[in-house]
């Protein structure tokens, strides 16, 4: 899983890096359009295009029937029944490509979130570092955080046994990519931290070897299981996307732009959806 994550992360690094100096909205919009195109192509390959075309024609025909024979109640009801029936057929034809689309789209979303959900810490900004122990593991209060030069540890640990967590506050002093060291006594684990003015891939959470968690947080190698740690998290600031005066979550932009791109480009790619 770690190897798979590393490969996919490297691929997205290649795709996203050209946008590092721009406002994140540019990169997000471009990659959403690309995703829309990928969705179109996957849809074309995995769907029965002829059957979809056919069923859509039938739906249109029955709509026409409704308009033409609106004075004949029996015919109208029959046409409406047929519209409903063909709609169900259309949905059946769409189901297979949708299932095929699910995996790549979720994968794209997870990896775009590493880039477009939060921004790196800027010089002078602070963040909370949070360590959480797994339910079954003992709560180890003897944990400390070591920060490299360029990062300041501002508070002692706040140990909350009831929540099985330990928190610190750090401050970014200099730009760079750092490894914070969590001293477990015995042993240690690290957590990546990025301080930058640019767009960058961020691993907000380093998680344990739970496959679901590792799929959701692929930015760093998983934590060794014997540490008892469920995750180590850095609370990076969220990116605000202001579009026409509205503050919109990046996922909304992603879905709207990718779906709009799919509809706009379907004729170009000769895809019936």
């Amino acid at each position: 899983m770690d190897l798979f994550n590393t490969i996919i992360c490297s691929f997205f690094d290649l795709v996203c890096l050209p946008f590092a100096d721009l406002h994140p909205l540019w990169g997000l919009t471009t990659l959403s359009v690309l995703t829309g195109i990928i969705m179109l192509l996957v849809f074309r390959v995995t769907s029965d295009q002829a059957a979809i075309r056919n069923v859509k024609k039938r739906i249109k025909a029955h709509f026409l029937e409704i308009r033409l024979f609106k004075d004949d109640l029996g015919l109208m009801l029959e046409a409406q029944k047929n519209v409903l029936k063909h709609n169900l057929t259309y949905m059946r034809h769409s189901l297979k490509p949708m299932l095929f689309l699910l995996v790549p789209v979720v994968l794209i979303m997870i990896h775009l979130s590493l880039w477009f959900d939060s921004s790196p810490l800027k010089k002078g900004e602070t963040a909370i570092v949070k360590l959480k122990f797994r339910e079954e593991a003992p709560f180890n209060a003897d944990v400390s955080l070591r920060v490299p030069e360029g990062v300041l540890l501002e508070t002692p640990p706040v140990r909350i046994q009831a929540e099985r967590e330990i928190c610190w506050r750090i401050k970014a002093l200099e730009k760079g990519t750092y490894q914070l060291e969590v001293m477990l006594n015995p042993g240690k684990v690290t957590k990546a931290l990025v301080v930058s003015d640019q767009l960058a891939r961020l691993s907000a959470k380093r998680v344990s070897k739970n496959i679901f968690q590792r799929a959701l947080y692929p930015g760093e190698k998983s934590l060794p299981k014997n540490t008892g740690i469920e995750f180590i998290e850095i609370k990076y600031p969220s990116i605000s996307y202001h579009v026409f005066g509205w503050n919109i979550h990046w996922l909304v932009i992603f879905f709207v732009v990718s779906i709009a791109a799919g509809f706009l480009l379907k004729r170009l790619f000769n895809v019936e959806i």
Binding site: T155, V158, I160, A162, C167, H242
Partner: protein
């Protein structure tokens, strides 16, 4: 308005100014104009720095000591003059004089506090919020059928609106007496008078395991007793009234404080946000959202938390919840997006009119050191915004307001006045540097403005009033009671009287409300008025004025009141009839006590001022002129605050409006 008329009035529009500037630039680039002609052709620029509470005596003193070199230089370039302040010299009144070029009779702000004569309910004089009048009930919910209203009560037109009408762009930052901001094309941000989210001038919250005695009576803040269990404190933040619910309960937000078992640090969980603080540390701004109608109606605010102490006692201070400038619940700027733009460019900021939490210091919730830190945040923040706006200023008019000198002089005058009841040499040693330091800070901001001045720039540094020590409080209502101008229903409950609730109005002829206001209990005006208008009222007013000026402090033998003003002698304008019947001008070092302001009747007529609010300016205006310093020669012999609006209009070649009573100070 045609061209001929405009020329006659020596007025020109922004477009004409820009056109002239453009032509001049072309001509200059062709070598057709020399420097002097070019300077003359360029449009004028005016910068006004409003430094609340800057005292002319202290300015002269610090200039002499070499602590204010920029101010000295500015004085030498143009002039320095005491600036006659308003009657009474209270900030909302004084700044309204400046804004409108009128006196209180013209703009209708007579005191911090006014009252409804029909009900005698006091209200803040500069604005009023009215909830929606029509609502329908759905179970526990009240659905409004109309919107509520927040209204600026200041009458008269702001001079920057006149500038904008004439095409002169203006930026007016944090000016008092302008909440909600007067509709205008100018960029304005409201200042003093802007409430917090609870609708008050600032209400802090204090969570502690050992609440002070009589904590429920604490003014300016709310104390919440809490318990620490298993290193955890669960509490709630109290927000605004939820008028969508029956009986309008307060909206609240729960929060949890997790304390480390050994370390002096804690984590605060508040609406999904986690804040880690060390003991004696302030948080950054935190955005909170109060749900009014689930998923539909929310009110957003910003606050800062101070983790005062974790052990042995738990003490947590939460600042007043300021209106969130990124999502303002009430209008605080024109255009409405201006405050959001400031957040985008500079981050969150204090929107509350009086950001320094003087009440927390007065109530000993914050120590001198802690208050000082908070006051420094305010000044640092203000200076950041000043740098930003000053850098952007290119043309037209720019006003920027500083509150620090005023509010901190109120709180730290006891470090300068050796005769103040709270003065100690130790205190002077520890904190005596603070007020001089603030004057030096103000000198630095003056220096910044001087750096961007050119030949066409007029820089004016103004203050609304000076400062004096507040050593003794005078219980005006008690004096009225003792001298049979007032009577109580139950004399045995005299000290429990609040908001005049024990007053026998049938036998009461006069009452004090507000800091400098005295009202007669007039028939047909007051709810239970007994003094008939005309000669009776006039005779009573004369009698009171005469007797009050003879009142002497038994401790010092000094007169307590130096002047009593009658509105018809000092006010002009459409609101004069709403003025108090008498305006009390207290002698140096005296002021109305805090108790008498809101209708209390304490036992003693005099009280030593043991409040850290130790400096004041709500005395006789003759003792408290403000300052006017400019790079232009000041020709007026006795410039007054209401002269400044006509002066500014005149600098742009615009005639003052008919309602303005002043004249240009520059001749």
């Amino acid at each position: 308005m045609n061209m001929q008329k405009r020329t006659k009035r020596n007025e020109f529009t922004r477009r004409e100014i820009l056109k002239a500037m453009g032509s001049a630039a072309v001509a200059a680039s062709l070598g057709g104009l020399d420097k002097k002609v070019w300077a003359k052709t360029r449009p004028p620029k005016v910068i006004v720095l409003g430094i609340d509470g800057m005292d002319p005596t202290l300015v002269r003193h610090f200039i002499k000591q070499g602590k204010m070199p920029n101010t000295k230089k500015l004085t030498e370039m143009g002039g320095f003059s005491p600036l006659t302040t308003s009657i009474p010299p209270q900030s909302p009144v004084a700044w309204a004089n400046f804004i409108t070029g009128m006196n209180p009779g013209g703009h209708g702000i007579f005191d911090f506090i006014h009252r409804e004569p029909e009900t005698l309910i006091p209200y803040l004089s500069t604005s009023r919020t009215t909830p929606p009048t029509k609502k329908i009930s759905l179970g526990d919910w009240r659905i409004p059928l109309s919107s509520g209203e927040v209204k600026l009560l200041r009458g008269g037109k702001a001079f920057w609106s006149i500038l904008e009408e004439n095409g002169i762009p203006a930026t007016v930052f944090k000016i008092p007496s302008n909440f909600p901001p007067e509709e205008s094309e100018a960029r304005t941000l409201s200042g003093m008078g802007t409430p917090d989210l609870l609708g008050t001038y600032g209400t802090f919250s204090y969570y502690t395991v050992d609440p002070p005695k009589d904590f429920s009576q604490m003014g300016g803040g709310k104390v919440f007793p809490v318990e620490v269990r298993d290193n955890k404190v669960v509490a709630h933040l109290v927000g605004p009234h939820n008028t969508f619910r029956r009986e309008s309960p307060r909206a609240t937000i729960d929060f949890t404080v997790w304390i480390d078992p050994l370390n002096p640090a804690a984590k605060i969980d508040l609406q999904g946000r986690e804040i880690v603080l060390k003991e004696k540390e302030w948080s950054d701004w935190i955005v909170v959202t109060f749900d009014m109608i689930p998923c539909l109606g929310k009110v957003s605010g910003i606050l800062r938390i101070y983790l005062k102490e974790l052990r042995p006692s738990f003490r947590l201070y939460v600042s007043p919840i300021n209106i969130n400038p990124a999502d303002p619940a009430l209008p605080i700027s024109t255009p409405s997006g201006y405050c959001k733009k400031l957040v985008d460019d500079l981050g969150y900021f204090y929107t509350q009119g009086m950001p320094e939490d003087t009440k927390a210091l007065s109530n000993l919730v914050l120590t001198d050191e802690e208050y000082l830190e908070q006051a420094r945040f305010v000044l640092d923040e203000r200076r950041r915004f000043y740098d930003y706006e000053l850098t952007r200023f290119r043309e037209g008019f720019f006003f920027f307001y500083f509150s620090s000198l005023d509010l901190n002089s109120h709180m730290f005058w006891r470090t300068l006045d050796g005769n103040h009841p709270l003065y100690t040499s130790q205190l002077a040693k520890e904190f005596g540097w603070f007020i001089p330091h603030l004057y030096q800070q103000m000198d630095a901001v003056i220096g910044q403005a001087m750096k961007i001045m050119d030949e066409n720039t007029t820089l004016m540094v103004i203050s609304d009033h000076g400062f004096l020590s507040f050593r003794r409080g005078f219980n005006l209502n008690t004096w009225l009671l003792n001298n049979e101008y007032a009577a109580l229903d139950d004399p045995l409950s005299q000290e429990e009287t609040e908001f005049f609730n024990n007053v026998d109005w049938g036998k009461t002829r006069a009452y004090g409300l507000g800091i400098n206001s005295l009202y007669l209990n007039r028939a047909h005006r007051e709810k239970h008025g007994i003094i008939s208008p005309g000669s009776n009222a006039s005779a009573l007013a004369n009698e009171l004025a005469e007797r009050l000026t003879k009142v002497k402090d038994p401790l010092t033998g000094e007169p307590v009141i130096s002047n009593v003003y009658k509105p018809e002698n000092v006010y002009t304008g459409e609101f004069t009839h709403r003025a108090p019947d008498l305006i009390i001008g207290y002698n140096r070092t005296y002021r109305s006590s805090w108790e008498t302001i809101l209708g209390k009747y304490p036992r003693d007529e005099f009280v030593d001022n043991h409040d850290k609010w130790s400096g004041d300016h709500c005395m006789d205006n003759v003792f408290l002129p403000g300052v006017l310093i400019s790079n232009r020669k000041i020709t007026a012999t006795h410039p007054a605050l209401y002269d400044l609006a006509p002066s500014i209009l005149n600098l742009f070649g615009i005639k003052k409006s008919r309602t303005m009573i002043g004249t240009s100070v520059f001749g």
